[in-house]
């Protein structure tokens, strides 16, 4: 594990948080590369038939990317907030740009749905992003909890630290936010 991307990411994050939009352009490929690394490992493990440890892989990735200790942020909470925003932006962007299956390629096959996992469904990441923006209009705290947890990969404890509320409150806000988002997305 090299430190290089870590430091680079942290610096870029600082710049971005200070309003430097160019920093985002440099950050995106780094994070994409990381995503591909996880994806690659994910696939290999699947092929080998090992039990998947995707959660661990992803956590590793977050840690590799974002080293709060060396960050020169006002505080840890601020840093978490910024990195979650950044991840949200990049990931949603990724989902938005992911090429859709060409119309001509609509070959339908029996049994396909039975094994469907995620293919073609990242559009919902986009829908989720939109719903989250809507939620923030009238309940900012719930929206932040979702951003930190779902996009930023933070634990309930970390979120509780960022928001300065009890973990049980974070948990409850998270569940209520999910219920609202779920209704929004399933009504579509």
């Amino acid at each position: 594990m090299s430190d290089e991307p870590q430091q680079e990411v942290t610096e870029l994050l600082q710049k971005w948080s200070a309003g430097d939009e160019d920093a985002l352009e440099k950050l995106t490929p780094i994070i994409h590369a990381e995503l591909h690394k996880i994806a690659h490992r994910y696939m290999n493990r699947e092929r080998d038939g090992h039990t998947l440890q995707t959660t661990a892989l992803v956590n590793e990735a977050y840690m590799r990317l974002i080293d709060w200790k060396s960050a020169k942020f006002e505080n840890r909470a601020h840093f978490f907030g910024v990195s979650a925003q950044l991840m949200r932006r990049i990931l949603v962007d990724f989902a938005r740009k992911r090429p859709k299956v060409d119309d001509k390629q609509v070959f339908h096959v029996s049994l396909d749905e039975a094994f469907e996992v995620t293919s073609g469904k990242d559009a919902d990441l986009v829908a989720l992003d939109e719903a989250l923006t809507e939620l923030a209009r009238f309940d900012e705290r719930k929206a932040t909890v979702v951003e930190l947890k779902f996009f930023g990969g933070l634990s309930v404890e970390e979120i509780s630290e960022v928001l300065k509320v009890a973990p049980i409150t974070v948990m409850r806000e998270w569940q209520k936010a999910k219920a609202w988002l779920y209704l929004q997305l399933s009504a579509q």
């Binding site: 070959f107 096959v109 039975a114 996992v117 209009r137 009238f138 996009f151 209520k176 209704l183």
Partner: protein, 963 residues
């Protein structure tokens, strides 16, 4: 959402969560204190908390990484392409899902395309699961129905688990939902879906997830249900899914509750009626563009399904007939004993409506009989709703098409034109060309058995034969832009394209090939097609290409190598329009290319319709063409950019008083148009027959009567029913009728082309040609229309298999694919060793049509088109013998095993297969008799009697005070 209001909701949710679950509802009701909105919002959120446990369970990063992982096999594992799995050669990746990839593959054993799903290795880890899954899949694969995507094979080859299914190309109803639907098509597709459900339910298999995504409409308009039984299979597979964390996203995507039946929601035991309900929801959505039950939330949707009665479809789309309202009302009835008990009951009711639509379509379009001039035309277009239904164009909401049609159909100037027939003689007049000044016209008209070019004044009564000296057919005349010359095609000894003066003098040949000449605007060149394809409904193979010939010196150059017919040179010398046979077997499409050659630009390419015979308006701003889009074959036009070929408008109908129209030609000022109106009817005629003298007794009589074109009728072995192909407008079906011609039954009644039908020797089945599988193959069905099944699997887009004939012992079948082939009916297709009957000389094509009663000889025609002659093939010697000298077609054996009847021109002949002596037994002045048979008892000679007429009509804008 108002933040204050939200706080109120949010805090009540919090409070309710403190209360034990069973008491929550009562608690919320009490707290809400009559605020129904508040109560509903809180209850919805509480319910959603229960359902959203797995929702957003994993981080966004993981989801994206997974998505990348799924995308990657397409790039990273191309290794499977070109490889073989079991008997399948993998050709290309069609799509990938998290649990495997789907490939287009070629089954080398059965020589057909399949969609091959390769399951990931994960799948094979649990033996019990594999076993259960395969059992299920095999049960489903037993449903063999043309409207269900078939599972061919489930297996495991060297550790790779795969599922092979039928390969279907088309779009799902969901993809098409923004498009336009004709009510008639909606009915036809719904009937097909009911058919499919019936077949599956009969085997105890329930789909459980009928929704627009699971109904695929093939390019030819044929419906196929996807994923049959998958809902149940996926129960078996769900364990696997959760193992790899698939539920992350699944949580967000859980089904589409709006199509569930009340039983599914209530968690009751579900049965086949669940599918009928869902089918009703799909039908409703089809008709109105709206789902009848979908609410703003899942909960609201469920409530609606359990208790709401949706508004009648006609209240949303006025074109929906009230009978359809009644069907859906019955279908959504939740009373005990309400609803439809079986898919077959629903099918029966839908069929009644489709019949009515069909008959009103033909009534409204029967044109000439009720045609009484301009007033008649008005009546047919107004009132709007009636006219729309009349034209078979009842259209669904969400379709700009309806608006377009209702607003615009009156807009084309031709609606104001006066319309008069210019010729009314019996027989055929076609390929008219109007002189540039619009005052006279030339056309190809019948002279005896052949054609000549005639000239006539507009308004005059007599036509002058310009080519009286040529015994061979002269057709396709075209006035030069200055009106002084006429180009035409001739079949005379030196075939090709000829030129003469408008008076019929100075005849000279400018090319030794070519058809359908069209002049360049400067009159110096002519574009011709290399192959003469006149009929849009017959698929014919021949030379491709378009050539430009210099009128002065005959030099020629090829402008295009594509298949092209009826070239039309644009008025400003920019492009050439033409029509061609689409790769999809029964469609015709239109394209243009630059005059100097180049890439074609498609003008008209539709679902389920044929477009052909393009003609430029004299100003080059419109391209007129003939289209089957309203069910008849009539004129339409689009605005077009003459330079780029770009289409600038939706097609608009050009109203004429004719049912079937073609071959339009304009005057230079665009104020006059002439065209050909055709009618082609055929019914069964019979005449008493004396087998000893081989003569007919008395006059022929009609056995059937009607507007349909009936071809190749055959009486069942027991002499009770005729089976035949019946053509209605553009639909070809197989039907039977009682011997007295009164009681009709459908064997097929849908969009695909079904032709060339023959009884099995026991009279229990019929075999026929159909393109319902996407390629032209032999199909069979029981005499009552059940058990429809495919018999050949040649799977070729290039050649079709037709003319199935059963051997008298019922053990073999001969069919024709370019030439005759013999198959063994005791074997499955995959074990067949198809024998191709030899041909002599090798270039000749043999089409078998009747097996001799002793099973030793097959009679048919040898050779192509006009050069074909009657011949039989001997099974014993493996050789052919030509019989008689006359041209003849569609021969059959007499019961005496010796004589052969066949059609030639307007006659029926009988020839002795031993001596070659030929007798004329019937000659008709009024009809063309085709496909004669003598009944097995030897007492009846029957045949399809065709009456074909075509006349030339004028649409005139100059006499209406137009401009």
């Amino acid at each position: 959402m108002d933040p204050k209001r939200w706080k109120q909701i949010d805090s009540l949710v919090d409070q309710a969560l403190e209360v034990p679950e069973p008491e929550q509802a009562a608690f919320v009701a009490e707290k809400a204190n009559g605020d129904a909105d508040l109560e509903r919002a809180v209850l919805e959120l509480l319910a959603a908390q229960g359902q959203s446990n797995e929702f957003l369970q994993h981080s966004a990063m993981r989801i994206v990484a997974q998505a990348i992982a799924i995308d990657q096999p397409q790039v990273k594992a191309p290794s499977l392409i070109g490889q073989k799995v079991a008997t399948y050669r993998i050709e290309k990746l069609l799509g990938a899902g998290g649990m495997g990839q789907v490939y287009l593959a070629f089954d080398e054993k059965l020589r057909r395309n399949v969609a091959l799903k390769i399951l990931p290795a994960e799948y094979g880890k649990n033996d019990e699961r594999v076993r259960r899954f395969e059992l299920e899949a095999r049960a489903i694969s037993k449903i063999n129905h043309p409207n269900i995507v078939t599972i061919y094979d489930v297996g495991n080859a060297e550790g790779i688990y795969y599922i092979a299914t039928e390969f279907v190309e088309g779009k799902t109803l969901r993809d098409l939902s923004a498009g336009r639907f004709k009510l008639r098509n909606v009915m036809a597709n719904s009937i097909q879906i009911c058919d499919a459900l019936s077949a599956a339910h009969a085997q105890g298999i329930i789909h459980r997830d009928i929704k627009p995504e699971n109904v695929m409409i093939r390019e030819d308009g044929y419906a196929k249900i996807l994923d049959f039984g998958v809902a149940k299979l996926s129960d078996v597979g769900s364990e696997t899914m959760s193992q790899i964390g698939a539920n992350t996203v699944k949580g967000m995507m859980i089904g589409t509750p709006a199509y569930m039946s009340p039983a599914q929601i209530s968690g009751d035991q579900i049965d086949h009626r669940t599918d009928i309900w869902s089918c009703g929801v799909v039908l409703y959505e089809f008709l109105t563009g709206k789902n009848p039950f979908k609410g703003s939330s899942r909960q609201a949707t469920f409530e609606a399904i359990l208790s709401k009665n949706p508004p009648p479809p006609s209240s949303i789309n006025p074109e929906v007939p009230s009978e359809v309202d009644a069907i859906l009302e019955k279908l959504f009835s939740r009373d005990n004993g309400g609803g439809y008990a079986t898919a077959n009951d629903l099918r029966a009711d839908l069929k009644v409506i489709k019949r009515e639509l069909d008959s009103s379509t033909s009534m409204g379009l029967s044109g000439e009989s009720s045609w009484t001039g301009r007033a008649g035309l008005r009546n047919r277009r107004l009132p709007l709703v009636a006219a729309t239904v009349f034209l078979g164009l009842a259209i669904v909401a969400a379709s700009a098409w309806a608006i377009f049609f209702s607003n615009r159909s009156t807009d084309t100037e031709w609606a104001r034109a006066t319309s008069v027939p210019l010729t009314d003689s019996q027989g055929i007049e076609f390929f008219p060309s109007l002189s540039p000044d619009g005052k006279s016209f030339v056309f190809a008209g019948q002279t005896g058995d052949s054609f000549d070019i005639y000239a006539q004044r507009v308004g005059g009564k007599t036509a002058r034969n310009l080519t009286p000296d040529s015994p061979a057919a002269d057709t396709q005349p075209a006035y030069s832009p200055d009106g002084e010359l006429i180009a035409f095609r001739s079949e005379r000894e030196e075939k090709g394209i000829y030129i003469m003066t408008e008076g019929g003098e100075n005849v000279r040949r400018i090319a030794d090939f070519g058809f359908h000449p069209s002049w360049s605007p400067d009159g110096k060149e002519i574009v011709v097609s290399a192959f003469g394809r006149d009929q849009p409904n017959v698929r014919s193979l021949g030379d491709n290409g378009l050539w430009i010939v210099n009128v002065e010196n005959g030099t020629k150059r090829e402008v295009s190598k594509v298949e092209a017919s009826f070239p039309a040179w644009s008025p400003n010398n920019k492009r050439i329009a033409y029509w061609y046979q689409s790769s999809s077997i029964s469609k015709r499409e239109i394209a243009t290319i630059p005059v100097d050659g180049g890439e074609p630009v498609i003008v008209a390419k539709d679902f389920a319709t044929s477009n052909w015979n393009p003609v430029w308006s004299p100003d080059g701003r419109h391209l007129y063409f003939v289209s089957s889009r309203t069910g008849s074959l009539n004129f339409w036009r689009v605005q077009i950019d003459e330079i780029t070929g770009g289409v600038l408008s939706e097609p608009e109908p050009v109203v004429t008083p004719s049912k079937f129209s073609r071959h339009m030609s304009f005057s230079r000022d665009g104020k006059r148009m002439i065209y050909v109106q055709t009618s082609d009817q055929a019914n069964i005629q019979g005449v008493e027959f004396n087998s000893k003298t081989l003569k007919t007794v008395g006059e022929p009589f009609w056995i059937t009567q009607g507007e349909r074109e009936i071809t190749r009728p055959e009486l069942s072995p027991d002499g009770t029913r005729f089976v035949m192909r019946a053509v209605k407008i553009t639909q070809d079906d197989i039907v039977t009728v009682s011997r007295d011609g009164r009681e009709w039954r459908d064997i097929t009644d849908d969009a695909p082309f079904d032709r060339y039908v023959r009884w099995s020797p026991d009279g229990k089945q019929v075999a026929f040609y159909s393109d319902r599988g996407g390629t032209g193959e032999i199909w069979a069905a029981n005499a009552d229309g059940t058990n429809l099944r495919q018999m050949t699997f040649q799977n070729s887009q290039e050649t079709a298999s037709g003319f199935p004939i059963w051997s008298p012992d019922g053990k073999s079948l001969v069919y024709t694919n370019l030439t005759a082939h013999l198959m063994d009916l005791s074997k499955d297709w995959k074990d067949q060793k198809i024998t191709r009957l030899p041909t002599t000389p090798p270039s000749d094509r043999f089409v078998g049509w009747d097996w001799s009663p002793d099973g030793k000889r097959i009679v048919g025609t040898l050779g192509e088109g006009s050069a074909s002659s009657v011949a039989y093939y001997s099974m014993e010697t493996g050789t052919y013998r030509k019989i008689g000298k006359l041209r003849g077609i569609i021969p059959s054996w007499l019961p005496d095993n010796r004589h052969i009847a066949y059609a030639a021109g307007n006659k029926i002949m009988i020839v002795d297969s031993e001596t070659g002596l030929t007798n004329e037994v019937l000659s008709s002045m009024t009809v063309r008799p085709r496909s004669p048979f003598v009944s097995r008892d030897g007492k009846l000679l029957y045949y399809a009697a065709h009456s074909y007429e075509s006349n030339i009509w004028l649409l005139d804008l100059t006499t209406t005070g137009g401009e």
